[in-house]
């Protein structure tokens, strides 16, 4: 219906491309997108009824399941010709293995989120109900886009819808600030990505992926594209140094939304990075092509993990750990690009597979953790670690599920986090095979960074679980908490179960991702790990999660048998606590202050690394002798990105704005001067050109 849109010298984007036939998967996909759009429209009137929210969230749940299923189908079906959306602006959608993989990721994350929303989200404001389906639809559209315009459309729609959700509770000023920064970053991403596509498409202006693949960029164009895409996609993914919005926005949004943002949306940005940099720009890029992603990824991994050890708000902590995991994924992508440039196909496939697998695993266990914190927020009315504690007694289900997520996030075998991180480490440990000294040195630093990040993440997760769920309740509200309804428990158990299963079966998942890996590394023949194992190469290192799990079980059984044979049953007694006095009667759970606090638990790392990386400060206020008031220790830190990047930019902007303002103080006579001067200048120009 768009043939008429054929102006001379206009971008050929306006050409209509009518595909031969629309594959069933695409048809179903378009139907799902349409259904989500209608759901968003219907949500406004539906919000008036008590059951409206249930209808909307149920619909989103169905759509999410459909998306995951379609992703699976796409992975099994393979590539298919693109189809056009019924819009006047030509927009192409197609599902290849890469899109399908990320569809699966987003679909699974959205399923958990929608389940949770179904359980808790009764009587939501119309705007929240309407924005939620649009958010999902935007993500899906960005994933299945087959031209730059559609990609940007989905990307920005996703951002706008989620902005509404971030601003859900806009009465608080800090939430408004978070929403503002969030939307600004989204706009920045768009402004970086559009010219990148312009450069890729060239003057002909055909921004369909097929056309771009046909003419990959080279020389300074390639460099510009790389810079723009890393800046734009990285900002939305939360890569250092543009990660500042993430720890603000995730806590501001409702829990099921922050789960979807962290599990799904950041992956969409990763998808954009992978699609443009590794797929569209072609395999013929130089070695440094992967370096920015590798370096920024390493920085994000370390900074995010360290900051997760200092934050005291549960959801902020999780957001920082998201930064860390995104960093790890980007390291994998950058490494894949570098290996590809060095003709190390197998290793490139290994790195790419690690990145894709980690994306899936992170989506699941991070959704699980965010939903768990949401459950805690519902039950104990606080996200602050210093107001929780002992929830494992009150909320056994939640605690159990979250423990699985914590284990995966701490990358402990045999859970999912460890499997993908093992692959990533193997790829990093092979970085030296690139015959370039500088890159080899970089690889060593990257190994150290990845290991540091993993260990820091483990510390952060122990801190989260230990302070929130173990120990004694720090507030009465925390003591009175209890598990959510069955639906909410299901929303936690589903990702927990998947985390365990995926952790045990990385091999089959890697085989499933084969197609996607092929998209990123066309030449790379990845190791087909087989049912049980993932391995680096023939004769290389191997990891058999099932066997390791069995071994662990066997050894635990052995220990149990040895210990339990003739052992008396245990009894309960007051905690020994090195003989400190038992708590006074008016504090039934003991004095909360005698437990480690969030700041206290972070103290060692704050002193070891925080001072240098995060400008952490500690100030002790000692009362004068004789003053019974307690001594106060205040610890603070500042993210360097805010102090060194955002604040100076804002200052420069204000200075320029002030200059621009001075122009307005002129009088009418002076205003007449301007046209006059312009006229004279132009006349002089004309004389110069003509004469």
């Amino acid at each position: 219906m768009v043939e008429p849109l054929l102006p001379g010298g206009e971008p050929a984007i306006l050409l209509a491309r009518v595909p031969p036939r629309i594959p069933a998967v695409l048809t179903a996909l378009l139907l799902t997108l349409g259904a989500l759009g209608l759901l968003a429209l219907a949500a406004v009137p539906l919000a008036r009824f008590a059951w409206g929210a249930a209808v909307v969230h149920g619909g989103v749940l169905a759509a999410a399941l459909a998306l995951a299923g379609l992703g699976l189908a796409g992975l099994l079906a393979g590539a298919m010709p693109p189809a056009a959306l019924p819009l006047s602006v030509p927009t192409q959608v197609a599902v290849d293995a890469l899109s399908a993989w990320f569809l699966l990721v987003v679909g699974l994350a959205a399923t958990c989120s929608a389940l949770f929303a179904l359980a808790h989200g009764a009587r939501l404001a119309p705007r929240l109900l309407a924005a939620y389906p649009l958010f999902l639809a935007g993500m899906a559209l960005a994933l299945v886009a087959a031209d730059g315009f559609t990609l940007l459309l989905g990307f920005e729609a996703m951002s706008l819808a989620s902005w509404v959700l971030v601003a859900a509770d806009h009465a608080q000023a800090e939430n408004r600030r978070a929403a503002r920064l969030y939307l600004a970053i989204a706009v920045f991403g768009g402004i970086c990505l559009v010219p990148a596509f312009g450069l890729l498409a060239g003057v002909a202006g055909d921004i369909s992926f097929a056309a771009i693949r046909a003419a990959p960029p080279a020389g300074w164009t390639a460099a510009a594209v790389l810079a723009l895409v890393v800046a734009g996609g990285g900002a939305k993914a939360g890569l250092v140094p543009l990660h500042g919005w993430l720890p603000l926005a995730h806590p501001a949004a409702p829990s099921h939304v922050s789960a979807l943002m962290s599990g799904g949306m950041t992956k969409v940005s990763v998808y954009v990075l992978a699609r443009v940099l590794l797929d569209l720009c072609g395999p013929a890029q130089p070695l440094w092509w992967g370096v920015p992603l590798l370096v920024l990824g390493a920085g994000s991994a370390v900074l995010g993990a360290l900051r997760a050890n200092l934050e005291t708000d549960g959801k902020t902590l999780l957001a920082c750990s998201t930064i860390e995991n995104i960093g790890l994924i980007c390291m994998g992508l950058g490494l894949a690009a570098a290996f590809r440039a060095a003709d190390l196909g197998v290793l490139a496939a290994l790195a790419a597979g690690a990145a894709l697998l980690h994306a899936l695993h992170h989506a699941l266990f991070k959704s699980l953790l965010f939903l768990g914190m949401g459950e805690v927020l519902h039950a104990a009315a606080s996200r602050h670690l210093d107001r929780l504690g002992g929830l494992i007694h009150a909320m056994p289900w939640t605690a159990g599920a979250v423990l699985v997520g914590v284990g995966a996030a701490a990358s402990l075998p045999p859970l999912s986090g460890f499997a993908s991180e093992w692959l990533l480490l193997q790829a990093l440990l092979a970085a030296w095979r690139v015959q370039d000294l500088a890159f080899q040195v970089l690889g060593v630093a990257a190994v150290a960074a990845a290991a540091l990040a993993a260990a820091l993440a483990a510390a952060a997760m122990v801190r989260l679980f230990g302070l929130a769920f173990l120990g004694r309740p720090r507030t009465p509200r925390a003591a009175g908490a209890q598990d959510g309804p069955w639906l909410a428990r299901a929303a936690l158990l589903l990702p927990a179960g998947l985390t365990v299963i995926l952790g045990l079966l990385p091999g089959p998942m890697l085989d499933l991702a084969q197609g996607a890996v092929q998209v990123l590394v066309p030449l790379g023949m990845a190791e087909r790990g087989g049912m049980l194992a993932v391995r680096v190469g023939d004769g290389g290192a191997r990891y058999l999660p099932l066997a390791i799990a069995a071994l662990l079980a066997a050894m635990a059984a052995l220990a149990w048998w040895v210990a339990k044979r003739r052992a008396p049953a245990s009894v309960r007694g007051p905690a020994w606590d090195c003989g400190f006095m038992p708590p006074p009667p008016h504090l039934p759970f003991g004095d909360p202050a005698t437990q480690p606090s969030a700041a206290g638990f972070g103290q060692p790392l704050r002193r070891m690394l925080g001072g240098t990386l995060l400008a952490a400060r500690e100030a002790v206020a000692m009362p004068p002798p004789g003053d019974p008031s307690p001594a106060r220790l205040t610890a603070s830190f500042a993210d360097p990105a805010d102090g060194w990047l955002l604040a100076p930019l804002a200052r420069a902007r204000d200075a320029l704005a002030a200059r621009a303002e001075r122009l307005r103080g002129l009088s009418l006579g002076a205003w007449l001067m301007l046209p006059f001067a312009t006229l004279v200048a132009l006349l002089a120009l004309a004389a110069w050109v003509g004469g």
Partner: protein
């Protein structure tokens, strides 16, 4: 039977006469005004069906038909909004007459400016439009309104004078080829001979036309009048000024460009337009950060967007330019309606005193929020499409443009986001309605209806353009290329 384009012009003028003579009784003038605007809109839309060609001094082609249809729609919406909010303006009889008459004169004049084939007639039409809009800006008679009107008048007076000089020069350039008499100023005739004209005079003429009409289009550094004029007049004025007048003026510049650009030896008009566009974009983007008055803020954002379309046309991406021009008219008028309604509810147009609309008046607040987001270049409006095309084209053709363009867009968009949140989110500020309140029962509804309908139109324009109109736009791109 006079040709349809003439009807489009004369109907509002007849209405103006009627409104000027008829005694202002109660709500009657507002309704008459609405009716005439409806008729105008119907004719303008009907014009889309008419075949292209020249009828005496007017021509109908792919370039002006969409703009005329647009002015019909926006004129109707503005009339509806003004009918809804008339009482808040608190006009006495004389002022009411003047206001309504001037409104219709303006509609007709800018339609003539769009439709005219003869550059002289176009000049006269723009002059009439200027006079009538000056009258409308000044109609309140408050010192600041007079001040704004006076500034508007003087600056645009000078501009128009220069434009006349440019017109004369253009004829002078063509005169040896087209001979004497009316055809000498016909756009078609000029385009036919432009390639053989004297390049020197052509570039001279373009300089004068650019400075002259550029003043009315509000291009930096000729923009001084715009913010005050759009912020001081009656509420519907702002919408009409930034929605219609700017288009007409920019179209005049483009017509000149289309003539001069045909001669390789003449001063290349494209780079000049890009330069003016960049200046407008950057200055406006930074100025947005210092605004405290809502209507002035959006007036500045009009400067920004006119600059963007100028860049598009200058770059040779006229399709993006046309789309941006039309999308901006729709969204910006909608936003001005929203701000106007808000200003009446809160009794002030200071940003600080309007807040939390989304909480207190959801329909208005979220409509306004969507509109502002659209102005910031976010989907689902036509501006998103046009800005995508524009930026992609700029990057492909002039890669160095990425930096200034990106800077301007980013700074402007972030400023708009800030204002969007200040106006729509947070705790609602207390309502202090202007005595008189809304004219119609359920006035707020009637004030928000135009807002939402224009937004819907902007979405359609971006994503569900009827094939016919799409064809028209692409032909326009060819004509302006």
């Amino acid at each position: 039977m006079m040709p349809l384009p003439w009807l489009v012009v004369f109907l509002p003028w007849l209405g103006a006469v009627a409104l000027a003579l008829a005694p202002p009784r109660g709500r009657l003038p507002a309704l008459v005004n609405l009716g005439v605007a409806g008729g105008f809109c119907a004719l303008a839309l009907g014009l889309l069906g008419a075949e292209h060609g020249v009828q005496g001094w007017t021509r109908t082609d792919a370039v002006n038909l969409p703009l005329v249809a647009l002015s019909g729609l926006i004129g109707l919406a503005s009339a509806a909004f003004s009918a809804a909010t008339l009482d808040c303006e608190r006009f006495d009889g004389l002022r009411a007459r003047a206001y309504h008459a001037a409104f219709q004169i303006f509609l007709g004049a800018q339609a003539l400016a769009l439709l005219s084939d003869n550059l002289g007639v176009m000049w006269v039409a723009i002059e009439i439009a200027t006079l009538s809009s000056v009258l409308m800006v000044a109609v309140h008679g408050t010192p600041s309104a007079i001040e704004a009107a006076w500034k508007f008048f003087v600056l645009c007076g000078v501009g128009i004078a220069l434009a006349l000089f440019g017109t004369i020069l253009l004829y002078l350039a063509a005169q040896p080829l087209v001979g004497q008499g009316d055809p000498g100023l016909s756009w078609g005739a000029l385009r036919a001979v432009a390639a053989h004209c004297d390049p020197g005079i052509l570039s001279l003429a373009f300089v004068f036309l650019l400075v002259g009409y550029g003043t009315k289009a509000g291009l930096v550094p000729l923009h001084a009048w715009l913010p005050d004029a759009e912020a001081e007049g009656p509420l519907p004025m702002s919408a009409v000024l930034s929605g219609l007048l700017l288009n007409a003026a920019l179209l005049a510049v483009l017509r000149a460009k289309a003539v001069v650009g045909l001669h390789p030896g003449a001063l290349a008009p494209g780079p000049l337009l890009v330069g003016f566009g960049l200046a407008s974009l950057l200055l406006a983007a930074f100025a947005l950060w210092r605004r405290r008055d809502a209507r002035r803020l959006f007036a500045w954002s009009s400067i920004e967007h006119v600059g963007l379309s100028a860049i598009a046309f200058g770059l040779g991406a006229p399709f993006a330019g046309m789309l941006h021009l039309m999308g901006h008219s729709l969204v910006k008028s909608a936003v001005f309606f929203g701000v106007g309604a808000a200003a009446q509810i809160k009794g002030s147009q200071k940003i600080a005193e309007i807040g939390g609309l989304a909480a207190s008046h959801p329909a208005l607040g979220w409509g306004l929020a969507l509109g502002i987001a659209g102005l910031a270049g976010l989907p689902p409006f036509a501006l998103f499409v046009s800005e995508f095309l524009l930026v992609a084209q700029a990057a492909a053709r002039q890669p160095w443009l990425i930096l200034p363009l990106g800077l301007g867009l980013l700074v402007g968009a972030t400023a708009l986001i800030r204002v969007l949140q200040a106006l729509c989110l947070g705790e609602p500020t207390p309502d202090r309605p202007v005595p008189g309140g809304f004219a119609l029962p359920g006035g707020l509804l009637w004030a928000t209806l135009p807002l939402w309908s224009l937004l819907a139109l902007a979405v359609l324009l971006g994503f569900a353009l009827p094939p016919g109109l799409a064809a028209l736009l692409s032909d326009a791109a060819v004509l302006l290329e």
